[in-house]
Symmetry: C2
Subunit: 378 residues, 2 copies
């Protein structure tokens, strides 16, 4: 009986998979406030050009730099487990597998993109990164990645999570990151929100506004912003998850995959696992691909497809996506990482193409399933 497949470092994919190369119709371009497509150069105040090139790339495969591989090897390839215990608990004849991204330093899939983002900024001469974080997974992942390349890191953390999850702040500090609750008084965006809503629990959209503002206001130009989900290059970096899983399923002897299921907040975890399987689906494979989102923040199942801002204060371009509206603030809830109003443009486009079967789950049902999983598996 084989419980999990653990690939060796030399078996890890050497390139990321870019879904944009294969979608039947391209993702519409981001637009500026004037309704005109944003030119790559216009993003240069926020991101370094090497990441902007990845953001707009149409290449199917993009090589992973050796310096990035060497950091990713600390925990990758991650194991793929056969969920024997869960299958038994569910009394199902299905063969269930799960990819365990919890083995990363920050405990989630987020370092998969934090490390290349820190690397590309470093080689572009950047000295400091700003970002937002919900539950703290992304903020701690970026703090880890920045510590590896000697970059400063400042994290605006959604206030409700900052208060509920103090340990995540300590983790960021351990890796040298600075963490402040958002909305904060350190940016105009934060002060404006606090003036209108002094008790604001915050949201990812607000925290993004603050982080972008802090990056673009550095007159030296040596501060950039890093986003943990939503953007094309973030989806790209996460595809290692699905690329590894395909190899691992083959070693398990699986010839056909029936369903791919992943949680979807901004979209990067879902994209990471599913995009390599979406490629097979577009090539004719019969696979059902299911993003699962919180029913309290249901962008894919109840959102509207339209151009919308990525943040609250209008610091970002308009992105084409399923959205609940950029001023949407979900009720305070435990799943703080998923408090985002929009869905990644690449994931949104895949839904428009009829390639996805999204589903929304209420918080308590989700917790119940998580407890079953913990007791039967991990």
């Amino acid at each position: 009986m084989m419980t999990k497949v653990q690939l060796q470092e030399h078996e890890m994919p050497r390139s990321w998979y870019n879904l944009a190369a294969d979608l039947p119709n391209p993702v519409p371009p981001p637009l500026g406030g004037d309704g005109q497509p944003i030119k790559p150069e216009q993003l240069a105040a926020v991101f370094p050009m090497n990441l902007i090139e990845q953001e707009v790339s149409g290449e199917r495969w993009i090589d992973i730099p050796q310096e990035v591989l060497e950091i990713l090897y600390r925990w990758r390839p991650s194991p793929l487990h056969r969920a024997y215990g869960l299958e038994k608990a569910l009394k199902t004849p299905a063969r269930i597998y799960y990819k365990n991204e919890g083995v990363s330093p920050a405990g989630s899939h987020k370092p998969n993109t934090a490390v290349p983002q820190a690397y590309y900024n470093k080689i572009a001469g950047i000295e400091k990164l700003t970002t937002e974080t919900g539950a703290g997974q992304w903020g701690s992942a970026l703090s880890f990645a920045c510590s590896q390349f000697g970059l400063e890191c400042k994290v605006f953390m959604v206030r409700s999570s900052y208060e509920h999850k103090p340990y995540r702040k300590h983790l960021m500090q351990t890796w040298g990151g600075k963490c402040v609750p958002s909305p904060s008084t350190q940016t105009k965006a934060g002060r404006d929100i606090l003036a209108a809503h002094p008790d604001s629990p915050g949201s990812l959209g607000i925290a993004i506004s603050e982080a972008v503002e802090e990056a673009v206001s550095d007159p030296s130009g040596k501060t950039k912003y890093a986003l943990g989900s939503v953007l094309n290059h973030v989806m790209l970096h996460q595809t290692l998850i699905g690329l590894e899983a395909k190899k691992q399923l083959a070693i398990f002897g699986e010839k056909k995959v029936d369903q791919i299921i992943a949680c979807a907040g901004g979209g990067s975890n879902f994209a990471g696992l599913s995009f390599p399987f979406l490629a097979d689906k577009m090539a004719g494979a019969d696979i059902e691909i299911i993003p699962v989102e919180p029913s309290s923040c249901p962008s894919l199942t109840r959102g509207k497809y339209s151009y919308d801002l990525g943040d609250v204060a209008g610091m970002t371009p308009y992105l084409p996506m399923y959205t609940l509206g950029h001023s949407f603030i979900p009720h305070a809830m435990h799943a703080g990482g998923l408090r985002y109003h929009g869905m990644a443009p690449l994931v949104s486009q895949a839904l428009r193409e009829g390639l996805l079967n999204p589903s929304a789950v209420p918080q308590l049902e989700c917790f119940k399933a998580a407890v079953l999983f913990a007791r039967s598996e991990y």
Copy 2:
């Protein structure tokens, strides 16, 4: 460049290594209150006979049951990493490796023994386990293990840690464990301590008294006690760590090990890594073996070798060990897992034989090193 060695499941050792078989002089037997050696049957109120047999075994190798292997496979073999980042940060020519037990469900090495202990209790007909926990690692590990075999689990958690680390309680509850702060009002031992010291921060010695009392007072005999360190069978189960590490170092191409370093609280983490290397040392290999303990709880470096109780209230036999005295209560500190007055008899005996070079480190120096490790490695 190879960053880590990840063994496959079929490469995991199939037997535990028992140091007792190879020590030049045997560990003196535990004694009862009358000064006479305890007979195995006398431990039967606390532990099932199959674990007592392991506790007193002189066999060098003890087979791991298949049912235990199948749970351990969820995270084992654990990776052995070459610490390239730390070596660079330290500017050392040494080649440093670390064994990553953080990939386990509970995040520490503790499930390595929690799983076999739950298994042996289960097949002995036991329905409930009680235990103590310091920082919460052992309590969560045993909660996980009990959930795998359908056993109830009750954990007495050292109060200072219970208050500092509330998330560990949630983890135990997720796995179905019950967690109460110790000293509690639920046992005579706890009530006696609270009467004398209403603000007691607790200690492992107190929590052990409470857990043993609750186990032995169940008239059905279906409740037993499980200990996360100190005892011979716990050391035994942890030797997978060192047995795997030896195989992994060989794959890295290392022909000679110069030093083995591990932290030592009750002794099980240290024993797990070092005992297989101690076997080599006793066979003539030139290896320095260094247990590192907190200078605020320095049983190996400043304790006295003598027979002492394992707990505060005298629920346990007298064990031969380096001890600070069973009523020792360290100052409140962050490293709650190490708040124990004595050192495992097998580790203590190895020190008496001149096989170990223990060292004690103050809290802040230890934290500083941990931050350096986090920023350069994980």
